[in-house]
Symmetry: C2
Subunit: 301 residues, 2 copies
DNA sequence: ACACATTGTTTCCATATTGTATACAATTTG
DNA sequence: CAAATTGTATACAATATGGAAACAATGTGT
């Protein structure tokens, strides 16, 4: 009895929640399904399912076995396609993590576009900011803003977005329009800690570079509240163009200090450093790297 | 034909360098060995061995297949023992990387002691300083000195060693004995870039902490040349006790500024962040953490 | 509450596969 | 150049595989 086959049957039974369902999926008899599972249980000397003739649930051991089985099966598949040099299609589940705004506005549309090409692939998106433990959470790819100094994660720059300083017209009318970086010290600058450059805003003018440590009436770890506050006249913000572009078009926000250069925000795709990269990860990285720069209104990196 | 069995046969054949040898190891007939390999080759549509009736060599595809096969087989074994809750003995090969001096003087003896308990385990030691790419090099555990800021590697503090400032008696007679941290600026301080605190020596005296940036006539990326130079009167060094302890005992070096406190050197074992830690890694970490602090002459962390 | 349908399991059996023994050709070694 | 050893091919016995049908257990619908 091929153990890998049995493992596969096990995974399918666990997913289907029934022997009969899995048997139909795999096009085998119900009898064989039980035999495979029994074989595994005998070899492991461990019950994998709690079954009362009518309902199925994984035991604790079964839960762990399932998790690892899937990994092993994927590894084997990867291995075989790598050796056969058959560039197999991405398949399985791609779990991706991104900051909320860019995730919702850009990564997610990219995802749906990407999925069209690969019917055997499904995707799981987690939108949250800050550092994520890729391994523990089983994340395949994370999107990070700005540089990340972590040697055992691999980061690939997939796009850049220009940073713009802006405020609502009302605010500027009330407090005046800052002309120089130093003027910002007197202003209320709203800070998003999740997006570089945080509270150290660096400008490149005719006279060289200048960095201003700004403060203000509001800080947050997400871009949306900050953007909103700025629209409502609470202060000056420095955010990537992809977040405030629309507000600027609509006149809700007004760009200031355009004469100064600001190093653009760099957007990275980050993935765990593995010896062999799975097809789905490699493929999506290539895709997003080609797709994103155009949509985000900037040149490719 | 059980594919995992076939994979195992393949690995054994590759290692033995012959079908007959592997067959004897596995206690099967030579005929079966060929059948297993042919089965794999047929499924993969790829030749794994170049065989001229009398000699064997892996094809390029075979090389890669071997590498991955071993990983998969280990994973499966790990999985089964994890699920069975049988704490299986460490087995396979443990590849460990350590800075040269501590590697030769402490890790290596620990290793031989440790190996006694586990007959199925073999070890591969790489002695080199600096950062190592654990994944690419297939290293299971690396020993680092001082703090490491890499979020996706896990670091466990396994010992500390006090740092001592010392110089040869001849040097001190010739240049005088420094009494205060500031005196060091006038002295030749030999720096080892591989061991913190490098050229920023921090002392804790009655009057608080003081950090001195030292310079001197020699720098190196390994402790030995520095130690040697100091013994030969080239200057003052700050090195962990486990390196210079013997020289101090023998009178070749003389400790100075003992009245100042120096934060001890922290010794870490670092391993890749994986969801499931293999028995051999977990077990060795526990061992070294219990073993090293006593031998290195310091309290456990 | 009760018949029914569906589920997981067991039994039986034809078929396919596995593994060994043996024979054979090719090649190295003494 | 003989002898031993290697990888492979063939034949055959033992075993395992997989499906059909029977069976027992449990929800479900009326």
């Amino acid at each position: 009895m091929d153990k890998l086959t049995s493992m596969n049957v096990f995974v399918r039974v666990a997913k289907a929640g029934s022997f009969a369902g899995a048997a139909k999926d795999l096009d085998i008899s119900r009898a064989m399904a039980t035999k495979h599972i029994m074989q595994l249980e005998n070899e492991l000397n461990t019950r994998l399912f709690n079954r009362t003739t009518r309902s199925l649930s994984l035991t604790e051991a079964g839960e762990e076995y399932l998790d690892r089985c899937q990994q092993v099966l994927l590894d084997v598949e990867e291995m075989e396609s790598a050796v056969t040099k058959l560039q197999t299609e991405p398949r399985g589940t791609l779990k991706i993590c991104a900051p909320p705004v860019i995730g919702a506005t850009h990564i997610s549309p990219a995802m749906t576009e990407y999925l069209k090409s690969y019917p055997d692939l499904s995707v799981e998106m987690v939108l949250k900011g800050g550092q994520v433990d890729l391994i523990d959470e089983g994340v395949d790819i994370a999107i990070y803003l700005g540089h990340l100094n972590d040697t055992s994660l691999v980061a690939r720059k997939i796009a850049t977005s220009s940073l713009v300083v802006c405020a609502s017209p009302e605010y500027l009318k009330l407090h005046g329009t800052p002309q120089d970086p130093e003027d910002l010290i007197e202003h209320s600058c709203l800070i998003n800690w999740a997006i570089p450059p945080r509270n150290k805003w660096r400008f490149k003018g005719i006279l060289g570079e200048r960095t201003v440590t700004v403060t203000g009436r509001m800080q947050a770890n997400m871009a949306d509240p900050i953007r909103n506050a700025a629209v409502n006249g609470l202060g000056v913000i420095m955010l990537p163009h992809y977040i405030v572009g629309r507000d600027i078009e609509m006149g809700r926000l007004q760009v200031i200090m355009e004469q100064y250069g600001i190093a653009p925000l760099e957007i990275y795709a980050v993935y765990p450093h593995r010896k062999y990269l799975s097809a789905k990860v490699r493929s999506f990285l290539d895709f997003i790297q080609a797709w994103l720069p155009h949509r985000i209104g900037m040149n490719p990196p």
